[in-house]
């Protein structure tokens, strides 16, 4: 018993070390900041119907210097604007030295405004609906996942239930792919259809007995109440789904589309107008994009997850290991009354 305490103490110590060290460069940065008056004036001049202007802190504005993040000198700025017609526009603003000098001037005086480099609308890429092939694929995978889920809760044979769960998770992975979450689709297949499936199959093999009565026989009254409760749940769900009115119906009825192309290189003509010379489609949902988010704003939950997994490993071993050194895993509860009955 002494060894498991040593392991637990080591785990807690490692957790503390990671927790104290993790926040690092990103912990004290605000995600949101107040828009400077000059920025807000420039945004409102470009978009007269703007109702609300926000200036989120963009991770690409920062660069890591000597372990600390600093504002990049050449960075632009992004502003998010809610328009009166419900659309959301994202503006890229070029910050030059004249704008930076605003901070030194007193408020109320004439201030230099940043120039608007580009305007993109959040839901412009979503116009139109899906094609028929996508509709067929969606229904195929939706049916696979729902039938697999029904298998899980209806089969008496445990192996059949596990296989239904795997089918359901594969269908859900394909659904992820339709939502442009490629990386998560692959993770879903590796973690669920791979690791968790193996874990469940092993436990089913250890248990190795079919259920006598899969559904609780709590008498006629209990079954009636349970059936009524499920009917009520389903009925409420259907009522809710048919009555819900989205704030922006055009967006809600649209199909998931790949993100729009963004300009990455600008050229300034003699008259001062900016034209786009090179554009690229952002890799939305790829390993690179998810990783940039995971190791940027999501760094703390990421590190916390590592502690959670460590504790889960230690805890699973502590719970499931045989209680005696010579026990082969088949010892009954009467053999050691202290811990056999959990």
């Amino acid at each position: 018993m002494i060894r498991i305490h040593v392991v637990l103490a080591a785990a807690v110590a490692a957790a503390l070390v990671i927790l104290l060290g993790a926040p690092g460069a990103y912990a004290d940065e605000p995600r949101e900041r107040v828009c400077q008056p000059s920025v807000e004036a420039a945004v409102r001049a470009a978009l007269p119907t703007a109702t609300q202007v926000r200036c989120p802190v963009n991770a690409s504005e920062y660069q890591i210097v000597n372990g600390h993040s600093e504002l990049r000198k050449d960075a632009g700025m992004t502003a998010e604007v809610v328009l009166s017609d419900g659309r959301i526009a994202t503006l890229e603003l070029a910050i030059d030295d004249a704008v930076r000098a605003n901070a030194a001037r007193p408020t109320g005086t004439d201030q230099a405004r940043p120039t608007v480099r580009s305007i993109s609308y959040a839901h412009d890429d979503l116009s139109g609906s899906s094609g028929k092939v996508m509709a067929l694929l969606f229904w195929a995978f939706a049916v696979i996942s729902v039938v697999g889920a029904l298998f899980v809760i209806s089969r008496r044979n445990l192996i059949a239930a596990v296989m239904g769960m795997v089918g359901s998770f594969l269908g859900i992975a394909a659904i992820y792919m339709m939502l442009y979450a490629q990386f998560l689709a692959v993770i879903q297949m590796l973690v669920y259809a791979g690791a968790i499936m193996v874990l469940f199959v092993f436990v089913v093999m250890i248990l190795n007995r079919p259920e006598d009565e899969p559904v609780a026989p709590s008498g006629r009254a209990g079954q009636v109440i349970g059936g009524l409760a499920i009917l009520y749940l389903v009925g409420r769900l259907i009522i809710m789904l048919t009555h819900v009115e989205p704030a922006n119906p055009e967006i809600a009825m649209n199909a998931p589309r790949p993100p729009p192309a963004q300009c990455i290189e600008w050229q300034k003509s003699d008259s001062g107008a900016l034209t786009c010379t090179q554009s690229e489609t952002p890799d939305w949902g790829s390993i690179k994009a998810v990783g940039a988010d995971l190791f940027g704003p999501g760094l703390f939950p990421f590190e916390a997850i590592s502690i959670l997994l460590l504790l889960a490993v230690v805890g699973a071993i502590a719970i499931a290991r045989p209680l005696r050194e010579d026990a082969d895993g088949g010892a009954g509860a009467d053999a050691h009354p202290g811990g056999g009955a959990v």
Binding site: F138, S145, I153, Y180, V215, P297, I305, L308
Partner: protein
């Protein structure tokens, strides 16, 4: 009606997630085997993930992907600890039906 079948929108994904979640809830409520209940909980977590990713694509915000990844990791930790408990319970009592685990009742 044909619009509902042939024009797939975000609503379809959300309804699918709701249906999967409901099946998971029904599994936890109805079944007595602890293993099946664990699987139903996994189903509910997956349904929540589908909702997260749908809204993520809808609003063009990638941070939900990070959160979905964390949900998957939590689900994996939950499955490992839950299965360890199932094995420990089975070792002591030779069955894993939650109705019969009444030692703590009194």
């Amino acid at each position: 009606m044909s619009d509902v079948i042939w024009k797939i929108g975000y609503g379809h994904f959300l309804v699918l997630a709701a249906v999967l979640f409901l099946i998971g809830v029904a599994g936890v409520l109805v079944r007595r085997n602890a293993l099946i209940m664990l699987m139903a909980v996994e189903l509910m977590l997956n349904a929540a993930n589908v909702t997260l990713l749908t809204f993520s694509r809808m609003w063009g915000d990638l941070s939900a992907h990070t959160f979905a990844l964390i949900v998957i990791a939590v689900a994996a930790a939950e499955a490992s600890v839950g299965l360890a408990i199932v094995v420990a319970v089975f070792r002591g009592r030779r069955n894993v039906e939650v109705d019969r685990l009444t030692t703590l009742r009194h």
